[in-house]
Symmetry: C2
Subunit: 327 residues, 2 copies
Amino acid sequence: MTQDLKSRIIGLVGHDLEQVEHALEAHLSPNLDLVRQIASHLLFSGGKRLRPLLMIHSARMCGYVNGFEIAFSTLFEYLHAATLLHDDVVDEASKRRGKDTAHSKWSVPKVVLTGDFLLARALDIASQTDLPGIIRVIANITQEMSQGEIDQMTQKGNVNLTEAQYLKVIERKTAVLIQGACQSGAILAGVSPEKEKALKDYGYHLGMAFQMADDLLDYTASAEVLGKNPGADIREGKLTLPLIKALESAGEKDRTFMTHMIENESLDDAQFEALKDLLFRYNGIDYTKERAAYHVTSAKNCLDGFEDSTSRQVLTLLADYSISRNV
Amino acid sequence: MTQDLKSRIIGLVGHDLEQVEHALEAHLSPNLDLVRQIASHLLFSGGKRLRPLLMIHSARMCGYVNGFEIAFSTLFEYLHAATLLHDDVVDEASKRRGKDTAHSKWSVPKVVLTGDFLLARALDIASQTDLPGIIRVIANITQEMSQGEIDQMTQKGNVNLTEAQYLKVIERKTAVLIQGACQSGAILAGVSPEKEKALKDYGYHLGMAFQMADDLLDYTASAEVLGKNPGADIREGKLTLPLIKALESAGEKDRTFMTHMIENESLDDAQFEALKDLLFRYNGIDYTKERAAYHVTSAKNCLDGFEDSTSRQVLTLLADYSISRNV
């Protein structure tokens, strides 16, 4: 099913993806060698280019035909890469997509500054649109994301994190950027406020589903599929929905065990497996799947007011893909 | 002389400074407690608000009377604070303005993210101007500054750094931001391209003078006046103009001594004093003073085409102040 979905999407967007790759390289080339090396390490390590594709097809679904959507869409990949570089530093992560993280290859300062540079690059591209609406979206994204990351950091190890707090964190750290890509496509096309709102909502729901799926994979996927060891979240003290739900439903004894596992800084594989069993038993896994599926359905419903087109099909397929992907 | 200059400036801008302080606090208040704490630690530690004042008086000198110049000007202080937070992390600095640096009080990740937040805040304020020209200036500033910092980092310990390379680094890391504040004031006022260019040039020269003065102070000021130990630059392997010039003029023996001092990771006070003597003897100090004075004169010349006004007086005094300050 996932493979089939993936090939249908690639069939529709393969040419766009090639153009996005070229544009991503082109926008980096006149810059300092070291910046390009560090940025490229992350940028060209098999990212899915979800955010550029969302902007491109949001714009096209809204009737945009002026040809700048590819170039402008790269800003969302740069912005994404900038936040990943800083997040990996913040989380002290050693692996991403099966590769060493940038700061374990270069130094923390260099990676922080390369993140700053990529953010600046994104802003420069945004400024070229000459659309204040897009600038406002980008300004909002960057504020929300930095606050979301700080929020997540201050909540580390908090075993009383509620579902509502979790939802706020993932909205800020993931959904706002995806939402911004979709909304910017609408702004670029100059559609009505209603349609802009519909695409903004589509992006919000897709972003929420995407992050929930990611949080599930950290429990259910293999190291090979993930490109890093599963269980990274709990080892970093990050409570995500599967665990929050299981903690809520578990009896005293199992809840205490789970709490200890969260506080255990050297969780071993057997303990992780035992914890995982509890997440299944107490409905944490299924509940998260249900919530993610709800957001996918909601995302697709937001597309109802748009005429059928290839781009609408792409956006529909991407919504499905957000929860069915392996990585 | 410096005290007199300072009181003349304060006499003219005291009211603006109060308003800038209020605006800086107001723009931070609806945000996360931790972010506000970390940001405030740096923001309210006795900064001179040079960049906001430059934007405010550039705008007013160009006839701007709409009253938003105070609010908009804060973006340059936020941008400045964002870069200082990241720079202190990059330089592993322990003191700034006589206080512990933020990352030695909180953690590196928190400070990196607070820097990101302040940059985002600056961008948000810029987006409220609805002036694409200002957005382009900000985008350029952020790109140049991150590249300048990386450039400086990769040049650390390079005893063959040329004056031209040094000039490029300080242009990127300091002058571009000061220049951007002046240029943005002109854009806000909607002046002719010629006058915008004149203010841009004024800002460039003031920024160059300001950084040269700063680089001199790191050799000539006392720890009490600096708020940190002098000699921080050479201890971090940063070659600045006084040293570059002295290296160029010195004979073989003294040049070798200086090179060893640059490579000496635990330079003691006596060695630092011996090095300082050589900077005086080989004209490094005087040459840097002359170059800084040249940039001050050039900055003031850029104001020739503007009618006399309080704001023009302020900009003239600020140019003088840039090289005569103690801190």
